[in-house]
Amino acid sequence: MRSKLWPELAGFAALALVVAALPRFISDFRARELAIVGMYFIALLGLSILTGYSGQISLGNGAFMAIGGYTTAVLSVNGVYGHQIRDLWTIPIAGVIAGVAGLLVGVPALRLSGVYLALITFGIAVSFPQLPKKFDHFLGGTTGKILNLAKPPFGLATTTNNWMYYLTWGIALVLLGVAWWLVRGKTGRALKAIRDSEVAAASSGVSLATYKTFAFGISAFYAGVAGSLYAIANAYVNPDVFPIILSVYLVVGLAVGGVDSLVGLIFGAGLIYFLQNHADTVAGWINHLPALSLDPKQPGIPSMIFGAVLIVVMLLLPTGVGGLVRRLFGSLTSRLYTRS
C-alpha cells in the first residue's frame, strides 16, 4: 500500500492544478456548468462511500441533497430569530443537518438488506418532494423559496459563476481528501470488510451497526453539502429543483462512472449534469447520423435517446467507465478504494 501513496498524491495534485487553472481558459458560462458538475461530484463521492464501500444501496440521496438545499434556503431567507445567515456559512450547517438525517435513516437501514433497502430509500426519494408542499408556510410549497444571488465574499474581483466554480471545486477537493483519509484508515478497512463479508467482519469484532450507520451519515453529509451549493448557485429552491429522478440519476452516475474510480466519478457527475440539462443536444448530434432523422425538439426523443444510451452503455461496460479506464490504463490510474 505504501508504494501507491506517491502516485495517488501526484494524481491529487494534478487534479488540484487543473481545477485552479481551468477558469482562465473557459467561458464564464462553462465555469458555471463545471461548478454544477462539481456539486454532483461531491454527492457521488458520498454515495460511493455508502454503496461502493459499505455496500448499501441508496436510491434516496437526492432527498439528502434536498435537505441540504432547503436548509440553506431557510437559513438564508428566514434566518434564525429573523437574523439571516450568510449563504457561505449555511453550507456546513446544511451538511450536518443532512448528515444527521442520514444517521437517522442509517439506523433502520441496518435491518434491511439489499433490495429492500434500495426500495425503501427510493420511497424516501419519492416522498420527499411532498414535504415542502405540505409544510408550505415554512418550506415554500410548490413555488419554493428564493434566495439572494450568490456574491463573491469580501468583494473579491471575480464573476459570480467563477466564484461558484472555485467554491464548489475547493470544497470538492477538501472533501475528496477527507474521503481519501477516511478510507485509508481504520474506518475504511472496517467498511471494506463489511462490504466483502458482513458475517466475517462481525466475527472479527467489527461493529457492523456503527460503521454502516456512519457510512449513511457521511454520504448524507456530502449530499447535503452538494445540495446546499446547488441552492446557492440556483438562487431558488422548490420541489422541482431536487426531483425524484435525481436520486436515480445519482445511482446511474455512480454505476456508469464506476463505483470506485476517481475518473469514473467525475465522468458520472458529468453524465448526471448532461442528463438533467442537455437532453436536446444529444438528440441534435444523433440527427447528423445518416438514415436517422429525428426531430430533437419533439417531446419523447430525448428520453428515448437517453434510455437507449443507458442500455447500450451498461451492456458494453457492465463495470462502468471506471472499469474500462482501469482495464486500459491498469496500475497507472489511482484507485479510490483498493481491493485487498
Binding site: 429492500y116 458475517v199 437517453f306
Partner: protein, 300 residues
C-alpha cells in the same frame, strides 16, 4: 389529525375504491415479484411496459375493435414483448452486478416512455373501458360496476396464474427455475427460457393492470408511474419473493391508503405515499422480509 365526518355508506364506498386500487397494485406487484424471484432484478420498466401495451389497446379500439376483441390480442403482444425484452436486453447482462441490470431496466423505462410520446403524443386521452360507470346497489350501498369489474378481472387473472403455477408442468418448471436454477438444469429445464417466460407473464399482468386502470384515470405516457411506486410498496410489504404477499400486500395497501387519505386529515392526498412508506418501514423493522417473505437469518 382530524377524523372527518363518518357515514357507513361512505365508508363502504371508500372500502370498495380501496379494494379496486389494491387490485391494480396487486397485479403490478405480482409482476414485479415474479421477475424478482427468478432473476433478483427489480424491473423499473414494469409500469412503462404496462402503459405501452395499454396504448396499443387504445389504438386497436380506435381502429374499430371492441375492448374484449382487442383484449386477447394485446395480451399476446404483451407476452411476446416481455419475452423479447428479456432475451434481447436482459440476457446479455445476466452475470453483471445487480446495479447494472437495474440501470438497464431504468434505461428501458426511459426509452419506452419517450417512444410512447413519439408515437402517440403526450396529451391525455380517454380510454373506454369494458365496464359501465353506473352504480348498482349492494346491501344499500351504491358501488360502481366498474370497480367490481376491475376487481373481478384482476382476481380472475391471479387465480388463473395460481392454477397455472400449481398444476401445470410448465408452471412447476417456472417455480423450480426461480428457486434453484442449478438443480433445474440438472432435471432438463431450460432455465434461460423460463426467465423469458417469467418476463412474458409479468408483461401480461402489467397489460391487464393498465387496461383496467386506464378508464379510471386518463391515458397518457406517465399514467403508471405513481401506480408503479405503490406497486413497489405493495411488493415490499408482502415480501419480495412471495407471490401471495404481492397480492395480499396490494389489496392491503390499497385499502389502507384510501381510508387513511380520506379519514386522516393530516395525510389527505399529499402525504398518502409518504404515509404508505412509513407504515411499510415500520413493518419491515419488525418483519425484515415483509409479511410473507423469507429473509435469511444471519446469526453472528
Amino acid at each position: 389529525m382530524v377524523l372527518a365526518a363518518f357515514t357507513w355508506t361512505e365508508f363502504a364506498q371508500q372500502l370498495a375504491a380501496g379494494i379496486r386500487e389494491g387490485a391494480i397494485y396487486a397485479g403490478l406487484a405480482l409482476a414485479i415479484v415474479i421477475i424478482y424471484r427468478s432473476t433478483r432484478v427489480i424491473n423499473f420498466a414494469q409500469g412503462e411496459m404496462a402503459t405501452f401495451t395499454t396504448f396499443i389497446a387504445w389504438s386497436l379500439m380506435n381502429h374499430g375493435l371492441s375492448f374484449w376483441t382487442a383484449f386477447p390480442i394485446v395480451l399476446a403482444i404483451a407476452f411476446a414483448g416481455g419475452v423479447a425484452i428479456e432475451r434481447v436486453v436482459i440476457r446479455p447482462v445476466e452475470g453483471a452486478p445487480v446495479v447494472t441490470v437495474v440501470i438497464v431496466t431504468l434505461g428501458l423505462a426511459l426509452l419506452l416512455n419517450g417512444l410512447m410520446s413519439v408515437i402517440w403524443g403526450g396529451a391525455n386521452r380517454q380510454f373506454h373501458g369494458p365496464f359501465s360507470t353506473r352504480t348498482i346497489d349492494v346491501a344499500g350501498v351504491p358501488i360502481s360496476v366498474q370497480d367490481i369489474g376491475i376487481v373481478a378481472v384482476s382476481v380472475g387473472l391471479v387465480g388463473l396464474l395460481a392454477l397455472f403455477f400449481r398444476f401445470t408442468k410448465l408452471g412447476l418448471a417456472l417455480r423450480a427455475a426461480a428457486v434453484n436454477p442449478e438443480s433445474s438444469r440438472l432435471v432438463g429445464i431450460r432455465v434461460g427460457w423460463m426467465l423469458a417466460l417469467g418476463w412474458g407473464i409479468a408483461a401480461v399482468l402489467g397489460a391487464v393492470a393498465g387496461m383496467m386502470i386506464a378508464p379510471v384515470v386518463f391515458l397518457d405516457p406517465n399514467m403508471m408511474q405513481t401506480i408503479l411506486l405503490y406497486a413497489f410498496a405493495a411488493a415490499v410489504l408482502g415480501g419480495l419473493d412471495s407471490p401471495i404477499g404481492a397480492v395480499v400486500g396490494g389489496i392491503l395497501l390499497g385499502v389502507t391508503i384510501t381510508l387513511l387519505g380520506r379519514y386522516v386529515g393530516f395525510i389527505g392526498s399529499t402525504l398518502k405515499l409518504p404515509a404508505a412508506l412509513m407504515l411499510i418501514l415500520v413493518l419491515l423493522l419488525v418483519r425484515p422480509g415483509g409479511l410473507f417473505g423469507r429473509v435469511a437469518v444471519r446469526r453472528v
